[in-house]
C-alpha cells in the first residue's frame, strides 16, 4: 500500500496493462517524451519503448482514427485526447465510427480501445479547456463511459477499460490529478458499470461523479454535523453501463435523491438518472428529485466566477438543507 496521486495512478494503470498484454499500445500528443501535458504518463516511453508509446502530431482525427484501425485489426490501443474539449474536433470517431462499427457490420468487427481525456473545470482555463463533456459521450449507443474520482479507481477502471471489448471513453478529471490517496500494491482490476457507495446514510442519496465526489462527501459531513441530515454519497463512476440497481436501492432506503453534476444543466447525466428514478422508483420518493449542476453557461476563466459556476460543497449543503427542510426547490 502506498500513497499515489491520481496523475501517477494513470501511468500505473496503463503500465499494468501494457505489462500484461503486448498488444496494448498508447498514442497521443506529447504523451511519450514529455510524459503528457498533465504529466500523467511520465516514464511509460522509457519502460515500453517508442514503438508502444508514441508521440503524434496535433491530429486528433488521425489519433482516434488510427486507434480504431488498430483496434479493429487486433491491437488494444489507448489514445489520449489532451483536453476533453478537443473531442469536438474528432467527434466523428466518437459519435459515428467507434460506436457503430460492431452494429453496422453485424458483429463482424469490434473496436476495443480506450480514449482517455482530461475532463472538467476548476483550473481557470476558460470555456474551451474546462468543460465536462461526459454527457456528450453518454448519449451515444455503443460507447462505454467512465469517470473515476480516486487514484485506486483510476488504476482499476483503466484496467477494466483496456480489457473491455468495447470503445471506452475514460474521463480523467484535470482538477483531481494532484489529489492523493492510498492504493494497494499489485494488480488492480475493477468492473465497469459499478457505482460505489462511499458514505452510507439514511436521509437522502447524493449522486456525484469525478471532481464532484469529494465535494459531495465534504457536503455530506457538513449536512450531518450542522443540519442533522444523514446523506448517502454514491460515486456513480460509470455512466455507461449505468449501475441503476445501486442507485434505485439507495433511493428506496433514503426516499430522496440529489445529483451533483459538473456538466452544464441541459441533458446532464443526472437528468437521465432522474428520469429513471421517476419512472421506476416514484413511490419510493418522499420529495422532488433535485439536480445541482453548473448553470447552463460556458465556463468563465476568472477564478471567483468559475468557483461560482461549479457546484461547491457549500452550495451543495445549502441546496440540500433547504430542500430537505421543505423548500420546493
Amino acid at each position: 500500500m502506498a500513497e499515489l496521486t491520481y496523475r501517477d495512478a494513470v501511468a500505473r494503470g496503463i503500465a499494468q496493462e501494457m505489462e500484461r498484454d503486448s498488444n496494448v499500445v498508447f498514442l497521443g500528443e506529447d504523451v511519450a517524451r514529455a510524459g503528457g501535458v498533465f504529466k500523467a504518463t511520465v516514464g511509460l516511453v522509457d519502460r515500453f519503448g517508442p514503438l508502444r508509446v508514441r508521440d503524434t502530431p496535433i491530429s486528433e482525427q488521425a489519433i482516434l482514427g488510427a486507434a480504431m484501425g488498430a483496434a479493429m485489426t487486433g491491437l488494444r490501443p489507448i489514445a489520449e485526447i489532451m483536453f476533453a474539449d478537443f473531442a469536438a474536433v474528432c467527434f466523428d470517431y466518437i459519435a459515428n465510427e467507434f460506436p457503430k462499427l460492431r452494429y453496422m457490420t453485424n458483429g463482424q468487427l469490434g473496436c476495443p480501445l480506450v480514449v482517455r481525456t482530461g475532463n472538467g473545470g476548476g483550473a481557470r482555463f476558460g470555456a474551451q479547456h474546462s468543460q465536462s463533456i461526459e454527457n456528450w459521450t453518454m448519449m451515444i449507443p455503443g460507447l462505454k463511459v467512465v469517470a473515476p474520482s480516486s487514484p485506486v479507481d483510476v488504476v482499476g477502471l483503466m484496467a477494466a477499460a483496456v480489457r473491455d471489448d468495447n470503445p471506452v471513453i475514460f474521463h480523467e478529471h484535470k482538477s483531481l490529478y494532484a489529489t492523493k490517496s492510498e492504493v494497494p500494491d499489485g494488480e488492480i482490476v475493477d468492473t465497469l458499470g459499478t457505482a460505489k457507495i462511499l458514505r452510507p446514510g439514511r436521509d437522502a442519496t447524493i449522486l456525484a461523479l469525478a471532481l464532484m465526489v469529494p465535494r459531495a462527501l465534504a457536503a455530506a459531513e457538513t449536512l450531518a454535523s450542522e443540519h442533522g441530515i444523514d446523506c448517502e454519497v454514491i460515486d456513480v463512476r460509470s455512466l455507461v453501463p449505468l449501475d441503476t440497481q445501486t442507485i434505485l436501492n439507495s433511493v428506496a432506503r433514503t426516499g430522496r435523491l440529489f445529483t451533483v453534476e459538473e456538466n452544464p444543466r441541459l441533458c446532464g447525466w443526472g437528468a437521465e438518472i432522474a428520469s429513471i428514478v421517476a419512472d421506476e422508483a416514484f413511490w419510493d420518493l418522499d420529495g422532488p428529485i433535485v439536480r445541482i449542476t453548473t448553470p447552463h453557461i460556458p465556463l468563465p476563466a476568472a477564478d471567483h466566477l468559475e468557483d461560482l459556476a461549479l457546484p461547491s460543497a457549500p452550495r451543495i449543503v445549502e441546496r440540500i438543507a433547504r430542500v430537505m427542510n421543505g423548500a420546493r426547490r
Binding site: 508514441r54 502530431p57 488521425a62 482514427g65 484501425g69 491491437l75 457490420t105 453485424n106 449505468l242
Partner: protein, 342 residues
Amino acid sequence: MTSKKDRDGETALKNDDISPDIRQELFRLQVEIRDCEKRANDLFFQNMIKGTSHLSLGQEAIAAGMAMAMQPGDKSFCTYRGHAHTLARGVPMEKVLGELMLRDNGLMRGKGGSMHLTSVEHGVMGSYAIIGAHLPIACGAAWRAQYLGQDDVSVCFFGDGTTNIGAFHEALNFAAIWKLPVVFVCENNLYMEYTLTSEITAVEHPAADRASAYGLERIVIDGNDADVVYRTAQAAFAKARSGGGPSMIECMTYRHSGHSRADPAKYRPPGELERWLEKDPIKIYRTRLAEFGVPEARIRAIEEESKRKVDEATEVCKASPPAPAELLTTDVYADGGWAWRN
C-alpha cells in the same frame, strides 16, 4: 498501355508483364462489377433497393486492377461507393445485392445497408460514409501490421472531393511520418456530388499534388485502364510491404451515372459523358483482350457467365426474407446485446 500496333506481334505477347490469365481475370472482374451495378440500378427503380446507393459504373478498372494486385490478407477500406471494391475482393454478388436489398442474406443482414458493405473474411474492412473518416482508420490498420510485423497492406479508396477534408491531410502526414504500409487510392471522377472538384480545389490534381506536400511521389494514372492500375498497384503494394511506406495513387476516371441513385446528373456539360464513354474501361479492355489474342468466344463466355451470375444472385436475394426483428438490438456491445444499465 502500348497497343499491339506499337508492338512487335508475338514478341509483345511474350514480353508482356501481365499474364493472359490475369488479363482475363481483370476483364471478368470489370464485367461482373458492371453487370452487378447495373442490376442494382434496375432493382432500385423497381423499388427493391431502398435508401440510397452509389454506383461505380465507369470506374470498374480501379476496383479490378487494385484488387487483382492485392494478396489475401490485404485490407480494403472503401467509401459508400464501395460495391465495386467489395465485389472485387471476391465477395459473392448475392451477399452484396442482398445487403443493398436489406435482406437477411446480405453481408450484414441488412443492418448496414449499401453504404457500409463489410466482409472481413475477404479483407473488406468496411465502407465508410463520413467523408475522410477511413483514411486515418486505414493508417491504424497499417500501424497494426507494422507493429506486429505482419506483411499485409491497407488499401484505402476515396474520391476527389475527399481531398478537401481535414482527415485526408491528417492521415497523409501520419502515414508519412510513421512510414505506414498503407496505399491511398483517389478515384478522381471529377465531381464531388454535384460540383466539379476543380472549381473548389486549389490544385489541379487534388490528391497527387497534395501528396507531394507530404513527401510522397506525385502519381496520376489513367484509372480507366485496368492494366495501368494493376501495374501501379503492384509497385505501391510491394513498396509498402518492404517497409518503404505509403503511396498515393490518383486515378483519373468518370462515373457514368449520377452521384447516387437520386441524381440524374443534369449538371454535366453536354458531350462530357459521351467523351468518357469513348474511354469506357470495359470497352478498352475488351479490345485489349482481342489484341492479345483472346478468342471472341472466350470473351463472350466471360460476359455470359457474368450475366448468369447476376441473375442467379438476384433470384437468391428476392427469395431471401427481410432481416428478422431480433436483429434490432444485437451487437451494439461486444456481449452481443444492447444493455446499457443493470
